[in-house]
Symmetry: C2
């Protein structure tokens, strides 16, 4: 398994962060942060970044990623981790129907991490910034007793009337989802399984090539900026939108709660990748459960007015999975076997009782 | 010492964070976050906050505060910690000559912290937001194996021409500082000393009333928004500015490096509070060393064009401590005894080799 033991590679050259000091470290890690956006007037190097407001509103979203809770460095290459830390925040800006423009990245790290390890993390950060045309404009670095914590704040800009909230869904709206669901969750299950095998039989490097889709969805997710850009080009403004980080069911509950509506979803319309389907069955889980409750797909769930049906029907990689109904009719799943079940929001609980300090 | 053992008080009622869950917790902690700013169009509750750009530029600054590195809960009441976490970030926005308008707060906490403890932390956060007229517009909460990490991002808005960088100081400019320096550092030394006494003789609660200034400066610093507002009213725009978080010497080095100039500072002009002077001597440290190298005063260091001398001369709580000179003449301190010393930048190194994971 090529992903395992990535950490050991850094031991070839190991520069202690103390050799650079705090200012030296952030200078070193961000020297590749070339400015791509006209809106970035002043980036790293002062008390604050300065952004020019070309559009009417500024979007701000922030996320924490904690080692042992959100990522496991046994199978997460640092470059992938840096890439993912950026992408999951850009996904939040996309979910407002806005284009992300800047990010700040703060790091708390123990001295287990060498400068070389952090360089690899920043390689991923810089790569994501480059591919999504986003500027890295600030951050903070500090030490911590144990592990690694990454705090990313993403900023975007939009015309005020184009911003899409969770609260705008109306009865009769079509429920749409980009891409396939459940893959990231199954990718995680595979990586966890292989980690256990590796721990009991060190040296075994399993071939995960035939599972590239689901493992890739877990380790290197993408934000659906392409969908946002397509909709902008087509003049399509959804009535509500959210990104799928905690599973389709949980996100649908957010939209229904904030829009004060219900929803029905057709199981048969939800896209599940063949690899995900196969692995779900191998693990003894119903594939649809993975799609509904598995997290980290970072696809977009959105609703459109029926008048926009033609525009959304031909949108690439988009699935029309159901309809918004009155609140009193609840949130239901119409299964392929013809049954109707009330949907349950499970989501992820990051306050795992296992993370016990005492 | 009223500050010690604050943690124990929370044990009277202890609600586990798991009882609320992630969404419940953030809802609960932020329900007091009333919106104060016209520029806050959408606060907490969607994928991102939405801010209206009334001014030309947006300022963004971010900081991490880590338990055991930046704060010690043995003597830091959680309410004070919440207050300070906000203030130190607002200070960065002030240092750009801008008014802070929004903050996001992310928390990583171990299950050592009850809901009641977090409520107390957020009391301080909400208090700072109220006093500085700033909106809390977002954040993230997650668990971590050990301790507490607070990540704050502060946002401000300004007219583009009013933004003041570190890089604008010119030869002949007057060097100014708000307030007194060194107090926060000495307050920390007092708290550390009392912690040791408490640990060896539990139950002893020393009376720190006569040290209220220096202890208060450490536990409850303020951002100098008053100075920014005064300058705006007087039409005074500094040529360069920075907030003093790492000590006067370190900040002066930042300004000189980025402005490509030198500086001379007169020791006698630096304001040191009588409590700080007395305690420095009691600890056997030269008071000026505390003023130059002690951190966390969060005062403003700025330079003004000589044509603005009259405006700055009558500014309350501002000290004119020296002059910008050519880069080749270095950064020097003129002591009260008539000597000239090159200044050294020591600052704080948060990558303490003692924070060893291995």
């Amino acid at each position: 398994m090529a992903y395992l033991c990535e950490m050991e590679r850094h031991e070839i050259k190991r520069t202690d962060v103390n050799e650079l000091g705090e200012f030296g470290l952030i200078d070193h890690l961000t020297e590749d942060a070339t400015i791509k956006r006209n809106s970035t007037l002043k980036s790293i190097g002062d008390d604050a970044a300065v952004l020019i407001n070309q559009d009417e509103v500024t979007l701000v979203s922030t996320d924490l990623l904690v080692e042992g809770i959100h990522f496991d460095l046994m199978y997460t290459p640092l470059k992938h981790l840096g890439y993912k830390a950026i992408v999951v925040n850009l996904s939040d800006i996309c979910a407002m129907n806005a284009e992300p423009s800047q990010v700040t990245v703060s790091l708390a790290i123990s001295n287990r991490f060498s400068v070389e390890a952090l360089e690899e993390l920043y390689e991923g950060i810089h790569l994501a910034c480059r591919l999504y045309n986003v500027d890295l404009v600030g951050g903070d670095t500090t030490s911590v007793n144990k592990g690694m914590i990454i705090s990313v704040t993403a900023i975007g800009q939009a015309k005020r009337d184009n911003v899409v909230y969770r609260s705008g869904a109306k009865v009769g709206d079509i429920i749409c989802v980009t891409g396939d669901l459940g893959s990231a969750y199954l990718g995680l299950q595979i990586l966890e399984r292989e980690k256990q095998i590796y721990l009991s039989t060190p040296g075994v490097q399993p071939d995960l090539e035939e599972l590239d889709h689901i493992v890739g969805r877990q380790l290197k997710p993408e934000a659906r900026l392409d969908a946002i850009q397509y909709m902008a080009k087509e003049g399509l403004v959804p009535t509500s939108m959210i990104d799928i980080s905690d599973g389709l069911a949980s996100e649908l509950f957010h939209i229904c709660k904030q829009s004060n509506v219900g929803a029905y979803v057709e199981e048969s319309k939800i896209s599940i990748h063949p690899q995900a389907e196969e692995q779900a069955i191998a693990f003894g889980i119903n594939p649809i459960t993975c799609a509904l409750n598995g997290g980290e797909d970072y696809e977009l769930l959105f609703t459109v007015d029926p008048k926009d049906l033609e525009k959304v029907k031909y949108m690439p990689d988009v699935y029309l999975i159901g309809e918004i109904i009155p609140s009193k009719d609840g949130i239901t799943l119409h299964t392929t076997s013809g049954n109707v079940h009330p949907l349950k929001s499970q989501g992820w609980n990051h306050f795992d009782p296992d993370t016990n300090e005492n």
